[in-house]
């Protein structure tokens, strides 16, 4: 089974993301990378928790002043749903349904942009409403770094999925690009995993005090 080989629904293997040695390596290597990313985000979370509400004086906004429940809920729903749509995409990938996979990936990308838009709106809101900028206090630096790192991951994930979609739009699935789609979707899920902790630890716990 060559990576360049043409497939049909009947010949498509059961786990195309791990059918060749290169694919197996890619799959494993990417999971290892996610293990490292876990520690990376843990360090950022730990820093944020150590610096939460650490501001120079009482004129600065604290966590409980700035966060807004409905906006966070909207962002969360967008990202959670995009996780499900990317699962749909991988479901169709496994069934060798290229068009359907592309459609679901497209929906994932749209939801991702929605999330990103809500985050940009949110940051803008904090800056203008509360003068809560990247340089205004240790708390604000830690907040923007943690949430911004996540936002950068979302941006990178979007760029990645879009370039994969454009590159492969005309040639369908094969064993060379199937693992690429698969790891991109793993990355997307991982972004969602991190977000679950961000909305819990940063936003919800921030509002509780």
């Amino acid at each position: 089974m060559q990576a360049e080989e043409k497939f049909t629904y009947e010949t498509w293997p059961a786990s195309p993301e791990r059918a060749t040695l290169e694919a197996k390596n890619k799959f494993l290597g990417f999971w290892l990378f996610l293990g490292g990313e876990t520690v990376l985000f843990a360090s950022l979370f730990a820093t944020y928790l150590a610096l939460k509400d650490k501001v120079p004086d009482s004129t600065h906004a604290l966590a409980k002043d700035i966060f807004d429940l409905p906006l966070t809920l909207v962002a969360t729903m967008l990202l959670l749903t995009s996780s499900l749509t990317s699962v749909y995409a991988m479901y169709h990938m496994k069934n060798f349904a290229f068009k359907k996979m592309m459609v679901w990936l497209g929906v994932t990308v749209l939801l991702g942009f929605g999330f990103l838009g809500s985050e940009i709106y949110e940051f803008n809101h904090y800056v203008h409403e509360y003068h809560h900028t990247f340089t205004s206090s240790a708390f604000s630096s830690a907040f923007y770094t943690l949430v911004g790192f996540h936002g950068a991951h979302v941006t990178f994930g979007l760029a990645w999925i879009i370039s994969l979609m454009i590159r492969n739009s005309k040639r369908g699935l094969n064993l060379y690009n199937a693992p690429k789609f698969y790891v991109a979707s793993l990355y997307w899920h991982f972004i969602d995993v991190v977000w679950v902790f961000i909305f819990t630890v940063v936003y919800l716990m921030g509002m509780v005090g």
């Binding site: 494993l28 290597g29 290892l32 293990g35 990376l40 360090s43 820093t47």
Partner: protein, 622 residues
Amino acid sequence: MSTYAQKKGFGGTIWDYLTTVDHKKIAILYLMAGGLFFLVGGMEAVFIRIQLAVPNNDFVSAGTFNEIITMHGTTMIFLAAMPLLFAFMNAVMPLQIGARDVAFPFLNALGFWLFFFGGVFLNLSWFLGGAPDAGWTSYASLAVHSKGHGVDFYVLGLQISGLGTLIGGINFLATVITMRAPGMTYMRMPLFTWTTFVASAMILFAFPPLTVGLTLMMFDRLFGANFFEVAMGGNTIIWEHLFWVFGHPEVYILILPAFGIFSEIFSTFSRKRLFGYSSMVFATVLIGFLGFMVWAHHMFTTGLGPVANAIFAVATMAIGIPTGIKIFNWLFTMWGGSVKFTTPMYYAFGFIPSFVCGGVTGVMVATAAADYQYHDTYFVVAHFHYVIVGGVVLALLAGTHYWWPKMFGTMLNETLGKITFWLFFIGFHLTFFIQHFLGVWGMPRRVFTYLPGQGFDTSNMVSSIGAGFMSAGVIVLLLNVVITQVKNVKVGNDPWEDGRTLEWAISSPPPYYNFKQLPLVRGLDAYWIEKMEGKKAMTPAEPVGDIHMPNSSFIPFMITLGLFIAAFGALYHADDKSWALPVLIIGLLVTFGSMLVRSVKDDHGYHIHKEELMDEEKGAEA
């Protein structure tokens, strides 16, 4: 492949190395670059010892001294010890598991170039306004307020080279997990492969905190953030934790492969199976795990509180147990063996007492209450040089002699090798043994000079003389390398005649596809088993067939070049230079553009056909 066999011109060779994805060539690149930085760091060490040889010396100014000690530590750890170990991991580990290459040849090249450009960037600081001067640990309380761009060079340079190390670590992990030859089970892997595996796992989990720490420092210094600005609510202790969450595992990342190298050497030259193989594996994994649980012992005097100090002290002392297991296993390997005193074996012999000294002082400084006395004195300097030089550097020198024939196909001169050993070994103990006493007598570390008549004079002079011996040893090694390569006497598969592991079953240096047929591994010390049954070569596990090979690529170089350019933009951004931001953006565009090219351009590699392999065989016989 006929094109590979052709003689290439100088330019062709350079291009070959710039684009190579072959683990053996990348190993040579790591060896050369790491060796170069080792010499730079060594010269810095010599300058330190010249300055401290006599009291009230003015060989260098106080500020320059700070820059030199910072760069000595940083260079030796990140740019010398790590890449030299990576050189051996690249050269040997894939051969030891019977693989044709690593799991990610492209990323392997990328990792090297990231390390190299990061190191070059860091060292350019000497010419661009001054090197970092906040110590290799770069504690935030010093680093945030350090004038000039020194610390910025540290932050950006280490960020780039750290990415390279992380990529290298992931690559080695995946290689060990997926690329082992038929029959090479985990418990048949040579110890050097095992230690590479565990050290790579530690890299995977230890480098992200460093990445975060360096990013926070970069944000503080270059983009106005407040992580370490106490007036703005910041806290400098965060840096210390992030640094040591990385920094303590880092020393185990260095020492475990060193243990692996010595395990190979002890068993080869005692001509005996390694004593207690499974307990060695267990001890390696245990050290790897405990290595993560002890970082705060570097911070006993910051006031963590008695509970935290006690926990971290006990955890630290616990590491002595697996390390002790290893020491006894090495001794028992030699016990009853037919020991051959080659140069690598000299180093192995010298290593045991030296490293045990470092281990014993380690338990002393791990005692939290006593550490208040030792902290920031020369006792600590003596302790970590005993483990790093007495452990890691001796292993690197031993490994250089041991695997030189496998990497280059020539044998380093044994007499010169032994001269190197004696000069280095005597010099090492002369330099650092006395520093234990200096520390206990009260000489603080990182001081640029001291007054006469405090009882430090003679001891410091002795220490500086020792540094001279070590330098002489290194010079003899360089001579040895030059002489050997000029003579260019080629050696066979198994030049030590006692090789036990798979790398000795193929030619020196190995063909670019390593194994024509993957070997069938029938037990620990696979090659030794075959030799004991009177066979000359490994039993193949597959018929001769087409071999799939990765294509060379210039993209790793370009990705790194982009980051290198971007780092200059970020660095001068803080000066409000108008060109800084465009440079930063252009650099990042080069990096991400190259990544995009890599992503959209299909790269299926190529096949070496069966017929070509057959032809080569005939050619070799003729």
